[in-house]
Symmetry: C2
Subunit: 231 residues, 2 copies
């Protein structure tokens, strides 16, 4: 019983997964929604009709619908039936993104994804940011003087969060919020939190007076300890 050999095999072959009818129905429903090119608000057939049309029990249909409902693709109302909704694309993500469950490789990948995002923010920032934004960011940065460590962590989050917010892209902002726990988790694994040569106040002053290229260099310097750990 070579355990690791089995693990290898299983990884290479992939498990055989007998699709349940709920899986099929879920797929068919999604295809149906797409095919009919239904718009949000449009009514859907009722459960019993779907069950009959698909030749499965209402239970199976409900399992599939339950999934779509979770993803926010449909909404159901007591007597009216179901309507197509505008799904919140990040909602599903949120449920799964638990550092304790995600495997280490993916965890590292996500950490890197955050670095990529942070480095790419500049171009949006320099299009959208306002003086008021910078003022607010400066306040956050100034809060950091003479504070204990736990406060610093919170402030770190606030600072970078504000940066995302300043892009005026709310999906991006929410994405960042979701990635936070992963970031925190990876940081915790590392020996000690080092900060780059440029701190938050340095970044603020660049935003106020410097060019976009300056900011990109500054951000890289700020994140350099993380980049140095890449391999």
């Amino acid at each position: 019983m070579n355990e690791s050999l089995i693990n290898d095999l299983s990884k290479n072959l992939g498990r055989v997964k007998a699709n349940t009818m709920a899986d099929d129905v879920e797929l068919k429903l999604r295809q149906y929604l797409k095919k009919m090119s239904l718009k949000p608000g449009d009514a859907l057939p009722k459960e019993t009709d779907l069950a009959e049309a698909l030749g499965v029990s209402r239970n199976v249909v409900r399992e599939a619908l339950s999934r779509l409902r979770m993803l926010g693709m449909i909404e159901t109302r007591k007597r009216k039936g179901m309507v197509l909704a505008s799904p919140d694309i990040l909602q599903a993500f949120e449920r799964v993104l638990d550092p304790l469950i995600i495997d280490d490789t993916t965890l590292r990948d996500i950490f890197e994804l955050r670095l990529v995002l942070e480095m790419g923010l500049a171009d949006l920032l320099y299009v959208r940011m306002t003086e008021a934004d910078i003022d607010e960011l400066e306040q956050i940065a100034n809060n950091e003087i003479n504070k204990d460590k736990s406060f610093l962590v919170k402030n770190e989050i606030a600072f970078h969060g504000k940066l995302y917010e300043m892009t005026g892209n709310s999906t991006l902002k929410r994405f960042q919020i979701m990635l936070l726990p992963v970031f925190a988790y990876v940081i915790a694994l590392v020996d000690k939190p080092v900060s780059g040569k440029i701190d938050h106040r340095g970044l603020v002053s660049i935003l106020r007076n410097g060019s976009k290229e300056d900011f990109k260099k500054g951000m890289y310097a700020h994140l350099k300890p993380h980049f140095d750990r890449l391999k």
Copy 2:
């Protein structure tokens, strides 16, 4: 009965959502998984036990489990029961990311997200890319000479896809693949596909001979038409 007014109201207020028991159970199960800090492969109680413990019918439990199963958080096997799995974080995403269903604001957000990613790739690229990578990329770029438009679109995808691949971050790569339809959709909405001053072969030559900063500037020039449309 101003229809659009009602629609607006509903959007601003949000609907009141009476949680179903399946919602509750789903939440409780997720909390349970977290609290017990179960590792992938660990066994879970069987459906009937869960139902009894939670004081709900097996149906409700199954709906909740069906959701977790879809997210890849658990796997069920016929006689053994359920085991905690290592969820594929992007799986859920994939299902929802249909340009036809996502609302326009989010669509624009995602498009911008892609720009951010693309601009941020450089730092990972210059750590990980190999000569062989660049060779392959060059081949893709050289394929573009004297080809019809539909081929160009495919090649465009291949080129940028290869860039993501070169970061050695498979999550990032998969993420890009998922965003492709959105990208294509947004592009299709725009008058005509313009390309920046630097084309793919230009980027390749920078990768081969230029610095990271050169590449960042090159990528910006390449994507400039898109950045110009931002507001």
